[in-house]
Amino acid sequence: MKRTLTVGKEKVELEFTRINGVSTMVWNGEVVPLDIREVEPRCYSVIIDGKTVDVSLDTVKNPDPDVHAFRATLFDGTYDFQLQDPMKGLLAGAGGAAGSGGILTAPMPGKVVKILVAQGDRVEEGQTLLILEAMKMQNDYKSTASGRIKALHVAEGAAVETGASLVTVEAVEE
């Protein structure tokens, strides 16, 4: 099984094999013998060359289903990274992955307490568009680009889930 690892801006080509229960990882061409056991659901005991580490794995939602995003917690910290089947990466590259297209989405579940813009308004990058409340805190949501409000997808008072579309901003030619 091949995977392309993306961590920050770095990429590493990996291969993982399990033959008769023996796991091996190839890391940029270097062969690394592994001793891995899933000791609890999504929690792994990993021994490499005598070094033992207990890894808890969280799956992180990712807009592209072919890119599997992980958050791993170890004794010495938490790491975010992504794995992708290089074959699918090639296919996706050919197809071209679209950006989020100026849609502001809810980064957490919450309630829309105030909308500060209306459809058709001109907005500047960094301008607060609406206020979302969760867990007794109100958070400002700002436009990531200058442009015009193309659509408002929510109303004041609405409860929204993570990833819900809030506002679409379209670029305007000056």
């Binding site: 099984m1 995977r3 690892l5 961590v7 990996l14 993982f16 399990r18 796991s23 990882m25 890391w27 690394v32 592994l34 891995i36 899933e38 609890e40 659901p41 999504r42 929690c43 792994y44 990993v46 490499i48 070094k51 580490v53 890894v55 808890s56 794995l57 969280d58 599997h68 992980f70 791993a72 917690t73 170890l74 004794f75 010495d76 910290g77 938490t78 790491y79 990274f81 794995l83 089947d85 074959m87 980064p107 957490m108 579940p109 919450g110 309630k111 969760a134 867990m135 007794k136 805190m137 958070n139 993570t162």
Partner: protein
Amino acid sequence: MPVTKVLIANRGEIACRVIRTCREMGIPTVAVYSEADRGALHVRMADEAYLIGPAASRESYLLVEKILEACRKSGADAVHPGYGFLSENAEAAAALEAAGITFIGPNIEAIEPMGSKTEARKVAMKAGCPVVPGVQESMADEALIAKAKEIGFPVMIKAAYGGGGKGMRLVHKEADLIPSIERARGEALSSFGNDTVYLEKAIVKPRHIEVQVFGDKHGNHVYLWERECSVQRRHQKVIEEAPSPHVTPEMRRAMGEAALKVAKAVNYVGAGTVEFLADQDRNFYFLEMNTRLQVEHPVTEWITGLDLVKWQILVARGEKLPLAQDQIQLNGWSIECRIYAEDPDKNFMPSPGRITYLRTPASRNVRDDSGVYQGAEVPMFYDPMISKLSTWGPTRPEAIKRMEAALGEYRIGGIRHNVDFHKALMTHEPFLKGELHTGMLDTPFWKKKGVGPRFRHAIAAALFAELEAEERRAQAPVASGGRPDAWRAWGKFNRL
């Protein structure tokens, strides 16, 4: 006053914590819960549980009539308010007392004056407890200037009706005073619709140090030493400890006696906290009094060996304080970290959701006051506290090392949390040296840098998980409406 069955008018970790003390005292407990909290830990732990309304706290936990109704249903004769919600609400306390229910909190006469900052300041001044030098009344500019000279620079100009840092101005020398007053008035007017400003001595690098006090119904008062809560982010306490690394034995006695003056001035009954600001020269000034059990009371419990909730119940029953001042011990050091469902990488945005995995630290002198469990939902309706992790050690460095190790064992899956943030603080040089002040988190020194030496282990685990998932997909039986052949082909394709 009898306390034979206690209703806890709260949720989360503090409700669970109160239940535990009641259990040890053999007192049955009653939980109340909103619709969002049916599966919450306090509902599982109590002896009885009653639904009191929808998720929003103003329709459930904040409604004293709902609490009274649950008391009637359950026959509870006492209510513990925890902290937050109704804990400092004099009207709620009065309504309970009127219904013959014991309020396990201070006497109403003490809650009221302490509910107002300016009123509390007057009580403290009158009682002979030092307050921040300054004026709190409306005053003409000339009078302000005269006052500033009297107090000595630096001074702080504050909007009387303000908050959130707006209308505040730090002034270092006389020449800057008039322009600063003008700008402060301008900001105050535009922000709060009122341009009244007042003036206080500015405390540079202030430290937040508070004294735990206790009173009974027989006029006895003691103090249970201090806690330092200077490690704050946006005026929210992040880490607390007891004792304070800043406090000398002389300062401790002086602060304790000052706090007792305030408590005695309002005939304080029960657990209370007198908060002070201290400057780097160990001058201290009354800030306010909290008429409830504090979030951070565990550190006081560690160093005194006492159970503050038990003391609250004893006092509510009309018993005398169990110990006199000279019988209260101060043993070792304790640190507490507040573990929150929030994302330090995204400006500490709250992160509600399901806790899919939970491993809490277990070790010598480690205490985890938690309100959650593996599989529990952290609702978006309440504060994002997951637990309070506290440690004890014979010395401050030992308590900190123990905390660092305990944080390393803590695992919370499914939501974002601030465990790594706390770990970074536990190795932060100024923190280790005890050089604390309320602005010490203004620089985000905790931001991560790169990956550690065991990064490959994490990747290996993820690859293993990927392979297992592929094999599961390849072997999965036909799901209703699924496309088995497509899945199988994909699985095989991926293992080439």
